[in-house]
Amino acid sequence: MERSWLKKYLTALKFPSKWTPDLKAKIQKRPFIIPSRFGFYFGSGILVLLALAYTYANQLIYLIAFFYASILFIAMHLTNNNIKSVEVSEYFIRNFFQDELGSVKVTLQNNHSKYYARFIQIEIVDFDLKTTVAEIPPNSFKTVELSFNQKNRGRYNYSKIALSSKFPFNLFYSWKRLSWGETFYVYPAREGTQEPPYSSEDELSKKLDLTSAQLDSKSDNFLGHKEYTPYDNYRRIDWKVFARKNKLFVKTFETESSRICFVDFLEFFKSMPDLEKRIKQLTKWIFEAQKWNTLFVIRSENDEVAILDDRKKFETVFEKLSTLSTKDFT
């Protein structure tokens, strides 16, 4: 069993979800263009007109055929340019829980200084999501948000995103695809009927050999300030008071020692007949703890203790739970 996985994740906090992705991922590919199905019909129509003009030596039909050939030629450029100046400036998928709705946020940017980009279809290829942006004015942005769900927990790569357009005449189909080198997590579902394993602060501090600063439960019931001592939780230093008085004070709260949730990870999973159920149960407990601001403590197998006391740490645990498999216990 990989003993240090939890520690590794807790110490090297790496958060994949960012509102501004790396520049590397934003390389926009050039657009491609082919005639659409109607474009083929239209082109064949022009050929028929030319054949008629040739057969009946009809100059007017020649002129009409040439006119439509010009329209075809212009339409090709218009369709190409319509998509060419559009770029994806933002593509973000927020981590979400299994069996719940997730959202994809895509922002398109029209780089052209003069022309509108119209009827751009956005397709999130792997998730089979499609939508059309009717209009993006020059030098501006349009954001769309699409909902989708995933049946399985795990770490997923951002799907390829395809922008396409047949505007204006539906004669040509122009598209560009771009990959976004990012990942998102589908956290396990929040399910389970078991009560959370609550412990008191004293019990835990004895059991785990922790200071009270470390076991700082997050109650909102503010009592008052007291002067800082090296044994106090440095996170509770009120910097505003420090600015006023030039002395360190810490905030004191009404402690809710009974509301500390403790899970011995290995023990918890040892007794499992069904890994999925356990993961879902643990996710529910951790989520509840985050929601109600309860302290959550996990002990990994090598007796290392992780205290989930901020959002980032919670997220990291959720991410690990998303990718947890039986291999991790063998």
Binding site: T55, Q59, L60, L63, F66, L78, N81, F169, N170
Partner: protein, 655 residues
């Protein structure tokens, strides 16, 4: 669902329906009615909210229509069967139309429908009518939501596209080599004899055309000046007489291919009349047309080798004296008319008249004069509406009714010639027309149809003579149109003058339009392979080079379109200033760090700047203050911002 078409695609529906209506004169009535029937069916479904027929039904109906058309025409290659099929197909498509995605196909059918009109006519009027139809059809290709939301933006967009397409299409039309030889001229029987006159002329058959305003041809004369009274365009020589009915003989008078004229005396733009006659001005000796072969017989009657199904652009020249008529032709034109149906008394009366005519005259010319005198002095009248009288005989006309249209007089005069032993025949064609001073051409319509006589004179040559000149001289001097107005509208003298000079606005307008239409038709007809080569030669281009040039032009346009598109978010003045300063700082490896504000950056630069560059510091500080001002002072006008930017540029250049 059935409401979709009429609610959202009314413009499209109107366009396709109008295009169907425009084809009415060119397709068989049953095809046209069937097309309209499908539209009515759709309307019925719409009004009573009935279910529209399924695709299977419409598919079956279209196959059925195809089979019937094939049975009727025996082909699908001709213009008529093709247009008929498109009419029925578009009717069926309109009937089953219920889905947005089918809209484009309906538009495509609309394009075909309106374009197929031009297989039958080049007329500018149709083109003008079809332009808005083309525009609306093209506009319907736009996404429907856009048309619904911002119609004016869509219209503007369409306008720009059309403006771009027109010069491109014109270039391709002029430059791209095209072959205009007709390869597949498939005749279709339904049109034969629908206009003009047939091989037989009977009393009343030409007068029937007197109300027909259809244009037969337009003629542009170059060297010789002709008065209206001299404009006789002969089409058919009728040599076989049966009472007052005259029929053309199938003769073998040495048909030879007419050479293209070396010097062109006049142009004729002949509308399709679905016969093989070519109409030639008196004295024409050669005629030529691109894509058509014209033959002439020894009597200088011109004929096409095929039925004329499209507009023909003919060049012709006038010649000198005609050769003498051969013995065979003389004998062919001598048989006396059959008078056996007349009573003996009537026959005697007729023979007395002929005797009276021949007694006073010895030469054919004198006989001609005597006959004209007889018509002139015996109260013969000219009528525009004689009615159809195919059974009319010579006696009744000469002694009983004494009234008729040109064919009555021509038929009677030619009979009198033959009774006087002088070979004669009836010529049918056109006389006069309307002169268009703006375009300097004559427009000849069906109502100008005319019949006159040719007899063989003492030098054995055909000489034309028109009996109407004595019965109704105004008809010949002023032309049919004016004569008709005078007789029917009882015009005052001033009105006649106005009409003759064409001073009223309506006449001027119609003349102007006719002139433009003529130029348009001639341009299109004339712009054949040879003309194209001529024009390209003027630019020192061969056809192959022209093709390459067009391709290069298209490529260049593509490149230009892509080059001159300004992309990228426009940078504001503050960003531009920053770039200027940062560019300078890069030289000393002192670029701005992500986290740095301008003031800290300036401090860092000031500390790290090498000793020899220190004197530049005050200037740099000034540049920084200008930049900070630009970035954080939103009230700065664009002019001031520009000024600041320029100043920073100057400073950074010095640095």
């Amino acid at each position: 669902m059935s409401r979709l078409l009429f609610k959202d695609y009314l413009g499209l529906a109107i366009c396709i329906f109008t295009s169907t209506l425009l084809l009415f004169p060119d397709v068989p009535i049953w095809c046209f009615s069937l097309g309209i029937l499908f539209w009515l069916w759709r309307l019925f479904c719409h009004v009573f909210d009935f279910t529209i027929p399924s695709r299977k039904i419409t598919g079956f109906l279209s196959f059925l229509a195809l089979a019937v058309i094939l049975m009727d025409f025996r082909t699908l290659m001709g213009k008529e069967p093709a247009a008929s099929f498109i009419i029925i197909l578009s009717g069926l498509k309109a009937l089953e139309f219920s889905d947005d995605t089918e809209k484009d196909f309906l538009v495509l059918l609309g394009f075909f429908l309106i374009s197929s009109k031009f297989l039958f006519s080049y007329d500018l009027m149709y083109l003008i009518l079809s332009l808005p139809i083309y525009a609306i059809l093209t506009m319907n290709l736009f996404p429907h939501e856009w048309l619904k939301g911002s119609r004016s933006a869509a219209l503007k967009y369409l306008g720009k596209v059309i403006l771009l397409a027109i010069p491109m299409a014109a270039t391709m039309f002029i430059m791209l080599p095209r072959i205009t030889k007709t390869l597949l001229e498939i005749p279709s029987n339904s049109r034969y004899g629908s206009s003009g006159f047939s091989d037989t002329v009977s009393p009343g058959s030409i007068s029937r055309l007197s109300q027909n305003n259809e244009v037969v041809m337009r003629v542009e004369l170059f060297h010789n000046r002709f008065n209206l009274s001299e404009l006789y365009f002969s089409g058919l020589a009728l040599e076989k007489a049966n009472q007052m009915n005259w029929t053309a003989l199938r003769n073998e008078d040495g048909f030879t291919l007419s050479e293209a004229p070396s010097e062109v005396d006049y142009h004729v733009v002949l509308e399709p009349h679905y016969k093989n006659q070519a109409f030639s001005l008196k004295g024409t000796d050669s005629m030529g047309a691109e894509g058509l072969r014209i033959y002439r017989d020894s009597n200088y009657n011109f004929k096409f080798d095929t039925y004329l199904e499209k507009k023909a652009f003919i060049q012709a020249s006038l010649g000198g004296a005609r050769p003498k008529v051969s013995e065979a032709i003389i004998n062919r034109n001598l048989p006396e008319p059959e008078l056996s149906t007349l009573t003996s008394e009537q026959q005697t009366q007729l023979h007395d008249l002929v005797k009276k005519i021949t007694d006073s005259s010895r030469t054919p010319e004198q006989v001609s004069k005597a006959i004209l005198n007889y018509f002139g002095s015996n109260r013969f009248t000219y009528t525009l509406n004689p009615g159809e009288q195919p059974q009319l005989n010579l006696y009744d006309f000469l002694f009983k009714y004494k009234t008729g249209y040109c064919e009555h007089y021509a038929a009677a005069m030619a009979q009198l010639f033959r009774l006087s032993k002088i070979p004669a025949r009836v010529i049918v064609g056109y006389h006069g027309g309307e002169f268009n001073p703006l375009g300097n051409f004559w427009t000849i319509r069906q109502k100008d149809a005319h019949a006159w006589v040719e007899f063989i004179n003492s030098q054995n040559r055909w000489v034309p003579v028109d009996p109407v000149t004595v019965v109704a001289p105004q008809r010949i001097e002023l032309g049919f149109n004016m004569y008709n107005s005078i007789v029917n509208e009882l015009l005052t003298e001033e009105e006649i003058k106005n009409k003759l000079n064409g001073t009223d606005t309506f006449s001027r307008l119609s003349m102007w339009f006719d002139s433009v239409n003529y130029r348009w038709s001639t341009f299109l007809l004339e712009y054949d392979f040879d003309k194209q080569k001529d024009i390209l030669r003027r630019f020192n281009l061969s056809l192959g080079n022209a093709l390459i040039l067009v391709l290069v032009l298209l490529f260049t346009v593509s490149v230009l379109i892509n080059l001159f598109q300004r992309r990228g978010i426009k940078k504001n003045f503050s960003e531009l200033c920053f770039e200027e300063i940062n560019k300078w700082a890069t030289k000393f490896d002192l670029q701005k760090k992500e986290t740095e504000g301008p003031v800290t950056w300036l401090q860092r630069i000031a500390n790290a700047l090498p000793e020899r560059s220190k004197p530049f510091l005050p200037d740099l500080e000034k540049a920084f203050s200008l930049w900070i001002n630009l970035a954080y002072k939103p009230t700065l006008t664009p002019a001031d911002s520009k000024k600041s930017l320029n100043e920073i540029r100057k400073i950074m250049k010095r640095g």
